[in-house]
Point group: none
Chain length 284, copies 2
């Protein structure tokens, strides 16, 4: 049982991890080994105090070095669900599960909004998780929409199972291996079907399929955590970064504007302190 | 008439200033030319993301360079009062007065009157922050002076690291756990030493030690601003750093715990964005 699992490796997750380390807690930092794709994409950040006119890639490198110097490893996992077990949390990553007394959501804001039909057919031909649902599509024809290079290994796993894959990367420099993979450089417009998803409509063509995988670097928090209260599309938190679920905290862009590194770093710090206070209270 | 006057040059004030500059606002940053005395005194800051294991003096220097590179000068004034004039604010500095549409309070936590030696040895054996400096005293003998029951968690955290703790509570009903904790019901008179703090002199005995933690609660900041709502000795703010007075915002240690650079920097950023939103709404 971990003291805490931090979900997300952007500015908020990094800040929370550094503070939990300073407080000698037993925790996992889960996310992408390359931290946040949004972070590395920023051209120039002028208002992160202490690092004047820093490029996003430089700030990302500074965060990586800081984690390394503090001895913090990133547990590279895609979290597919967080469940309040009454006193602790179950964190599912496909077929694997982890347990922790507390969770900090630092999942950022998913830039990609759901397309029409995506939520409607979720669980009926639409999946967010290759590991969870891949085997259902053995020998089938699927469409894979992917938002980040970091998830190409999941796409390759799907290609190893499916009969054919139409692969739509929403990023540059895609390199998914597989003889049965056809690339499509087009934006998906909608998912259509009857009882189940049957086809993906792109701008220039419509692709019939047995299933659709939407591989996203982050899921909407309300999709991730049953029972979590949201406000205006963000996780509802108080000044101590507490959500409506005891022991579950949230920090960074997922709690709302301004979407700023300084704000995310501050909330990560506050959430980590709230975790320590919560654990101290619980262990009395 | 300025768009904003920022009061305080610690981490929160610096962060607010950098963001107001990025948003091209007309503002004054008021405080000490040497920024925050607490900032420069910190022995080592491990959890300010991007700057690993930075000394307080180095972080202060980085903040100063950042202000300079952004062309922000500090207006070196001691603010003696802030008055809500209905639509704008009057900021008094002794005989001088300034006017601004908005004010950001970033005044930090007013220290209880320091005892002789406390400021002299700050950063050289004297610390205000268990989270920041606790690990430096693993296996050491320390004295902890604490002004409030609310901070007993921090004292227990220190006891979990230190070899021995002499605990001097300046309040009633102290209950800090730990086999290695000895209570002393006496007022600290002074801190003495050579290059570093070496002992605390109490009325009835002198305690040799490797370090001294002065855990202080906040004083009422409402002394500065008539009508300002406080909560538990801190400025009451919402998640957007708004106080009960329209146009008056607060950020950093003055809004409450945790007293951390990351948290202060985050709130300074949020307060500056709230100033921009307030001005945009007002000028509609």
């Amino acid at each position: 049982m971990y003291d805490c699992i931090i979900i997300g490796t952007g500015a908020a997750g990094v800040s929370a991890a550094l503070t939990l380390r300073a407080r000698d807690k037993n925790f996992l930092l889960m996310g992408s080994a390359s931290l946040s794709s949004k972070l590395s994409a920023a051209e120039s950040v002028g208002n992160y105090p202490g690092l004047p006119s820093v490029k996003g890639a430089e700030l990302k490198a500074a965060f990586s070095r800081h984690l390394a110097s503090a001895g913090i490893n990133i547990t590279v996992k895609q979290v597919t669900g967080v469940y309040d077990m009454g006193g602790y949390f179950g964190v599912l990553c496909g077929q694997e599960s982890f347990e922790a007394s507390t969770v900090i959501l630092a999942t950022g804001v998913e830039a990609v909004k759901p397309i029409p039909g995506e939520l409607q057919f979720l669980g009926r031909g639409v999946s967010y998780c290759a590991t969870c649902d891949g085997l259902l599509y053995k020998g089938k024809n699927i469409v894979v929409v992917c938002t980040s290079k970091a998830m190409e290994d999941e796409a390759e796993y799907l290609a190893s199972l499916a009969s054919s894959v139409v692969y739509a990367p929403l990023y540059k420099g895609a390199a998914v291996k597989g003889d049965n993979v056809r690339y499509i450089n087009d934006m998906p417009r909608s998912i259509e079907g009857g009882m189940r998803a049957e086809r993906v409509v792109f701008s220039k063509e419509t692709v019939p399929c047995d299933g659709v995988f939407m591989l996203k670097s982050a899921l909407a928090p309300s999709a991730l955590v049953p029972g979590l209260k949201a406000e205006g599309g963000h996780v509802a938190v108080d000044r101590l970064c507490r959500t409506n679920l005891a022991g579950l905290f949230a920090a960074g862009d997922c709690t709302g504007r301004p979407y700023q590194y300084a704000k995310a770093v501050g909330e990560g710090n506050v959430a980590a302190h709230s975790v320590c206070d919560y654990l101290a209270e619980k262990n009395k």
